[in-house]
Amino acid sequence: MSLDGEIILQLNNVESSYGPVKAIRGVSLKVHQGSIVTVLGANGAGKSTILKTISGIIDPQKGSVVYHGEPIQKKDPAWIVRQGIAHVPEGREIFPLLTVRENLLMGAYTRPLGEKAAVEQEIEQVYGYFPILRERANQPAGQLSGGQQQMLAISRALLAKPTIMLLDEPSLGLSPKLTREIFEIIVRINRERGVTLLVVEQNARVALKYADFGYVLEVGRIVMEDPCAVLREKEDIKEFYLGIKESGVRGTRRWKKKKTWR
């Protein structure tokens, strides 16, 4: 839908590495205000690295990350959170021994004490999205199921009052049904609260269904970018991400030629 909003986040030719291993090699992408952007890619393509670079956990070697017109690369992660960029990490990364409520309060850590009442109110709102969290509010978060932990991780990021939320594989380890439910709520959050979303996914079917714009990442490079409606119809995407193979000799030959895609 909203690809006409202003560009709030832009990556220009970003290169990041873990020691000698280059994880992303010159990635450029744009995120428009109010949109849902997805980055698709296989294991090890560098999806998480993009998000970690944006949120300041990894410093890029080259290139710039521009947020609201200002470069933010190599800044302190805490500072970046305060600017309105919240990260929902891969594998949820909740605090297992803190209660659900305490986890949510930690999401609001960067907010000043004066906003205490507002934070309480937002916790209630978040419980509205995920009622199960209200029921479990005083249980240690480690006792939640995987899906509930994912809900908690999203809620926790929401409490930082983000302008843009970075989601790292929200579907990881979840059933197709639960994945759909989570994505539907993510979309609701985007529509109702105007939070811009950058979602990194392996599950192309779901991501392309809900996102507005998509990038395809392969071994650290962006190889394709288009609105999701266009991407969904592309032959390569159909074959290698959605698993729809063209029948007949021609399809098989194509498939063999592009085997490196997975």
């Binding site: 992660p77 500072w79 970046i80 959170v81 297992p96 021994l97 930690m106 480690g142 995987g146 930082a160």
Partner: protein, 295 residues
Amino acid sequence: MLQFLQLIASGIAQGCIYGLIALGFVLIYKATETINFAQGDLMMLGGFLGLTGTLALGLPFWAAFAAALVAMLFFGMALERAVLRPLLGQPAFTVVMVTIGIGYLARGLVTMIPEWGTDTHVLPVPYKDDIVSIGGTDGLILSMEHIVIIAVTALLIVGLYLLFKHTKIGIAMQATSQNQLAAFYMGIPVRRINMLVWGLSAAISACAGLLLAPITFVHANMGFIGLKAFPAAVVGGFGSIPGALVGGLIIGVVETLAGFYLPEGFKDIAAYIVVLVMLAVKPNGLFGENLRKKV
């Protein structure tokens, strides 16, 4: 029977001291996954600071007590900032060796300070030699030193409970110790929190030293009591705050009873026997965490 109760009471008081030092071990272990072997020496420094506060500066005892705690809080934070933070990312062994080194250094430097030196000192306390008898003159007799130890420890525990349960910074300390990476993602200043944990741990140890001083004496080697606080932390299940205190109490009581009922020499090894039994029966300790991180 009265004899027995009497021993239990003084065992509990002794156990509180072990518990407090063990608490210092546990806090640092939980936050940074390293063991601070200088914990006992931080306690000793606390004792000396209290001594300086009362004798050299002429402060009233409780004012000196508070001042020593605050001073040790800052000392602990400075220690983390200056010595331990540069070692971030080094193997745990490196950090352990450094803390042992800090301990040696502290013991050595203290003897070089005039007025402190190698002597044993008496920390003058207002409640020295007071006793409280429960149940008439031939009832249970508690010395005021023991009562103060138990009362201050209890107050400290309540304070820590409130800190960890009801303040943002306290919850953030727990969060950081449970999942450091996630704490970074939440914008929690992890390094500053670790510094604060070191400060808190040093202050708690200093508190133990100041409470212990009226019973023993203040001297450069009083920190070796840390060797018995370590088993207390292990018995409680290293990494558990209530465990550290319960472990301390167990070791304190067992040691006191062993000192009275068993042949000479057993008092000093009682703590280690308790640890060996514990490790054989329940290797995770009393309050050891069984909750594994879900992947």
